[in-house]
């Protein structure tokens, strides 16, 4: 696929560089193109159905407390999996506790990064890098939009 004559070369990649005296830490975050792998591992919760007395038709109840809790957990796991998957673009990055097929371990990603000596702000930068690569950084999109419109000159009448 080409856009304005330029061939589009694969998913977006963001590079996060954290300075260190003994050699900078370079994390590469690549956009996750689909969530098929995630969907294979984690099932999306479905709301319970309610049947009232005297009625025969069951209706979904998305306000159910257990369902809402399950959805919160599901979305948290989905987000963490996206970060984990994005960071797979980093060469030679080996996790000790986080495993690709273990949803519980995805939630420990921040703990492992912190245990490796990264400050909270540095972990935050990695997460921002991953969300930016995945098109979820609204600030960056606004900046790009402003850059585009500032380069477009209005037509003279």
């Amino acid at each position: 696929m080409k856009l304005n004559g330029k061939k589009l070369e694969g998913p977006a990649v963001e590079t996060v560089i954290l300075p260190r005296e003994d050699g900078d830490l370079v994390f590469r975050c690549q956009a996750v193109l689909d969530f098929k792998e995630f969907d294979m591992i984690v099932k999306e919760p479905v709301p319970p159905t309610i049947t009232k007395r005297g009625e025969t038709v069951a209706v979904a109840d998305p306000t159910d407390r257990d369902y809402k809790k399950a959805m919160e957990q599901y979305m948290l796991r989905r987000f963490n999996w996206m970060i984990f998957k994005s960071l797979e673009a980093t060469p030679d990055l080996v996790w000790e506790t986080v495993k690709g097929n273990d949803p519980e371990s995805w939630l420990k990603m921040e703990d492992e990064l912190r245990a490796a000596g990264l400050a909270q702000a540095e972990v935050g930068r990695i997460y921002v890098g991953a969300t930016t690569a995945n098109g979820l950084n609204e600030e960056r999109i606004k900046e790009a939009r402003a850059r585009f419109f500032s380069s477009v000159r209005p037509k003279e009448t």
Binding site: T49, G54, A58, Y67
Partner: protein
């Protein structure tokens, strides 16, 4: 010395279930299938029986031993307001479906680890005292199998009795969240 078997009724509990919910739970690990029965009115009783053997020493009471275990008797007699099914792939499940593992509950897994034994499920009673300072009480009646069942879907009534393959209920209390 002489052994005298004696069946004694250890405990019997009866609840006003207007503030309670009965939950039928299958044995699927981590994400079990559940059917919530919101009770409008009725009672649940469960009877725990312990057999004691009183041992006589030359005609006088001497010591006591536990006899054979006895299953817990459970009876549900209630009218429900609504049924809430936490299960995938089925739009409507009745208590009868859950107890008999049929229709929408056909894929339910027995709570009994013995796969050759008849289908069983756990009954959970969640009692909410409707007061934020009081604790929620949860009573679990494990491995229940019905022995008689009358269910009127139109009237929303269930009359069911059976036994649990357990000697006693598990009762826990937790703060409201």
């Amino acid at each position: 010395m002489k052994l005298i078997p004696c069946a004694s009724l250890l405990a019997m509990a009866q609840f006003d279930l207007k503030n309670a919910m009965i939950r039928l739970v299958d044995g699927t690990p981590s994400t079990p299938n559940k059917l919530d029965i919101k009770v409008g009115d009725g009672t649940v009783t469960f009877d725990e029986t312990v057999v004691r053997e009183y041992v006589l020493d030359r005609g006088l009471l001497s010591t006591v031993r536990n006899g054979d275990q006895a299953p817990m008797d459970v009876r549900l007699d209630l009218m429900w307001e609504f049924l809430k099914a936490h299960t995938t792939g089925a739009t409507s499940i009745t208590p009868e479906d859950a107890l008999k593992r049929r229709n929408g509950a056909a894929a339910w897994v027995s709570s009994d680890s013995d796969s050759c034994a008849p289908f069983a499920l756990d009954i959970e009673i969640w009692y909410d005292p409707q007061c934020s300072t009081d604790m929620i009480e949860q009573i679990i009646l494990p491995d229940f199998r019905y022995e008689s069942l009358a269910h009127d879907a139109k009237g929303g009534t269930i009359q069911c009795s059976g036994k649990c393959n357990a000697t006693e209920a598990t009762i826990t209390r937790s703060a409201q969240t």
